[in-house]
């Protein structure tokens, strides 16, 4: 009975795909999740050309398409973070996908549902965490976004003349707080006098508020501006117009600030996606590092969040300092190696301790040297 069903499935696959080689059939017989598919599915919460998070995931999917010319990559844009996501994923599975990437934080619950209903499919979820046991065909993954931000902080700390750095952020959530803290820690590691002034905009993309925030920081004497926003052009142009330095986020925007561009952080999902697909296709997903809450950084390699190219204003000495810091983080495992002290002077990470990703992803304080308060709620 079961054999018959497998045979029927294989025949169906042959009919729909017209290209099933013997190794894949063997993998399917073995039944390891992720094997035997003809397609790989990606669902995005936003449009594929948003110059930010979703575009990065889309570009990663295209890198996968290039790496596996025998597989077809399916992408779906604007997939809501509810049961519709499960329906889209099921549709992809019906078309022959055995590997699904659910790329938004809120896609976790539908992704778990789909994984439970389809034990032969590997479902990978970007950015969220599974508490407790991770199903054998499921995994979450994310980069350590704050590592390149720490490196950029070093560049900012060396570039500033007023020792005042500015950070325009959207909302006080742990991801933005991590970035701000890493930026300040990086700057202070090379310039103990550097302070980071923070302004939030209570919106992921309100360009007018961003313009006002940038102007306020610059009139306060800040001469290096960074940001954590979904749309980044306004802040960069305002900083360039005022003659301040810029540290980018999400994308290489050096063309917007030819004079003031220092460096930044940007996404490159291709290498990580490709390795995950390789593992799943080979039938060795279950029990692999990806079959968990997988977090990559300098220590493990394949961090999807990488440092942007340097601008003209960065000198060789600074670049060397960044290389030294990279080596140190690769060895330590985190830029948040203790002691980390908060604004009130309390030690939050004891000396010599590397906080785990759960601690880092639930942070709720600014480190010493950040000027500004987390908005009370």
């Amino acid at each position: 009975m079961r054999l018959a069903r497998v045979g029927a499935a294989a025949a169906l696959l042959l009919l729909t795909a017209c290209a099933t080689n013997t190794t894949e059939t063997a993998g399917e017989a073995k039944g390891a999740p992720g094997t035997g598919g003809t397609k790989i599915g990606f669902i995005l919460v936003g449009p594929k050309d948003d110059y930010g998070y979703n575009q990065a995931a889309y570009e990663g999917s295209q890198a996968v398409a290039k790496a596996f010319p025998d597989m077809e990559v399916l992408t779906a844009e604007n997939v809501p973070e509810d049961d519709n996501a499960a329906r889209v994923m099921e549709g992809m599975i019906r078309k022959g996908a055995k590997i699904i990437f659910a790329t938004s934080y809120g896609h976790r619950d539908p992704a778990l549902k789909v994984a439970a209903a389809n034990p032969d499919v590997v479902v990978l979820q970007q950015g969220n965490i599974v508490d407790g046991a991770v199903p054998p065909n499921f995994g979450t993954y994310f980069g350590t976004v704050y590592e390149p931000v720490y490196l950029a902080g070093i560049v900012a700390g060396k570039a500033t003349k007023s020792n005042k750095l500015g950070y325009v952020y959207a909302f006080p959530i742990s991801q933005t707080l991590d970035n701000i803290n890493a930026f300040q820690l990086g700057a202070a590691s090379v310039n103990p006098a550097a302070k980071t002034y923070v302004v939030n905009t209570s919106n992921w993309c309100d360009p007018a508020k961003q313009a006002e925030a940038t102007k306020s920081l610059i009139s306060q004497g800040v001469d290096v501006i960074s940001q954590h926003q979904d749309c980044t052009a306004t802040v960069i142009r305002a900083a360039e117009a005022a003659g301040a330095y810029t540290v980018g986020y999400h994308a290489d925007a050096s063309t917007l600030a030819p004079k003031g561009w220092l460096t930044g952080s940007e996404w490159d999902w291709g290498p990580l996606y490709t390795k995950m697909v390789e593992t799943a296709k080979a039938g060795s997903f279950t029990g692999s590092p990806y079959n968990a809450n997988f977090r990559v950084g300098l220590k493990t390699g394949d961090n999807p969040f990488v440092q942007s190219p340097y601008g003209m204003a960065v000198n060789a000495e600074t670049k060397q300092l960044v290389e030294d810091a990279k080596a140190k983080i690769s060895k330590d495992g985190s830029p948040f190696l203790g002691p980390v002290v908060d604004q009130a002077g309390a030690v939050r990470v004891p000396a010599g301790t590397v906080p785990d990703y759960k601690t880092i992803e639930s942070i709720d304080y600014f480190v010493d040297g950040v000027v500004g308060k987390i908005p009370a709620s």
């Binding site: 050309d49 302004v199 006002e212 306020s216 306004t234 987390i374 908005p375």
Partner: protein, 304 residues
């Protein structure tokens, strides 16, 4: 100097709202409320940005923004005046039309670079302590708005054309007996209002934020509509109101940049709290100041 920062930010950030509020004042004085003002601002912002990106000239952008804003308002005027549709419902439909169209056509312009309007400090005047940086260190569209508000006031309240517009909003029947067409006057006023809202949107995209993003007006068109009531349909009072909003928006970043911690959510709500408070305090006077025929819109009876 934090006071100068907040007030200068108030002028800068209030200008887009001021254009839209002046436009809405014109339309409402003629008896038509246009809740689609936000939509006109959005289409204006995108059209201005797209044309500025294509031609390299922000002035060409402003022209395009004005036309786009006017065009969207013309849709509202047609539905309301020719088809007799409910003004409030139509305004919202027009808003969503503008938001949808700009989201669709705007995607291509996200991330495009333009040469924006630059601040032009007026020689001499910008040197004055306090007033200089607050009033005379801005882009040309801000200076143009300094002239527009008194001009609109003069036109509405001291010129024959203004009398005709206001009559259309008060007693269209009287206007008709004098041989004017209230319909034509209202068309012109609504389209002219959309034109000004379009310029307001153009200010946001080509002078203030230097970027186009989906839904970048973030409710400023609605603030403008509220402001018209707040200002009792008076163009000069709209100036103060717009700058008050602008200053309320500029207060939060100015405080934060100096490291002061306040309840962020209270600060963000401040502009709206100011409006509600003003509407409560001024409530009775506002009712009397409303153009008579306009107030019928709110009484759920057809305007014609």
């Amino acid at each position: 100097m934090i006071v100068v920062d907040v007030l200068a930010g108030g002028v800068r950030g209030g200008t887009a709202i001021l254009y839209a509020a002046l436009g809405e004042t014109l339309a409402e004085r003629a008896g038509v409320i246009n809740l689609g003002t936000e939509g006109s601002m959005l289409t204006g912002a995108l059209a201005a940005y797209a044309v500025a990106a294509g031609t390299g000239d922000p002035w060409a952008g402003v022209l395009a923004g004005a036309l786009a804003g006017a065009l969207l308002a013309a849709v509202h005027a047609f539905m309301v005046l020719a088809r007799g549709a409910n003004q409030l419902a139509t305004g919202l439909v027009v808003l969503f039309l503008g938001a949808g169209l700009t989201a669709m056509f705007g995607a291509a312009y996200v991330g495009r670079a333009i040469s924006p309007f630059q601040p032009y400090p007026i020689p001499g005047l910008s040197e004055i302590p306090w007033a200089g940086p607050i009033l005379f260190d801005h882009d040309p569209l801000v200076y143009a708005s300094y002239l527009l508000a008194p001009t609109l006031w003069w036109l509405l309240h001291r010129s024959r054309a203004g009398l005709v517009v206001r009559s259309a909003g008060e007693r269209p029947a009287v206007l008709a007996t004098y041989g004017h067409s209230p319909m034509l006057v209202r068309y012109l006023a609504v389209v002219g209002g959309g034109l000004l809202a379009g310029i307001g949107g153009a200010h946001l995209s080509t002078a203030y934020a230097n970027a186009w993003f989906e839904n970048m007006t973030a409710g400023r068109g609605f603030i403008a509509v509220a402001l018209v009531i707040f200002a009792a349909w008076h163009p000069l009072r709209a100036v103060g109101g717009a700058y008050l909003f602008g200053a309320a928006l500029a207060l939060s970043p100015a405080l934060q940049a100096r490291g002061y911690g306040f309840n962020q959510f209270a600060l963000d709500a401040l502009p709206y709290l100011v409006t509600i408070a003003a509407l409560i305090v001024l409530g009775r006077r506002q009712v009397n100041a409303a153009p008579e025929d306009l107030s019928r819109v709110f009484q759920l009876t057809p305007t014609r």
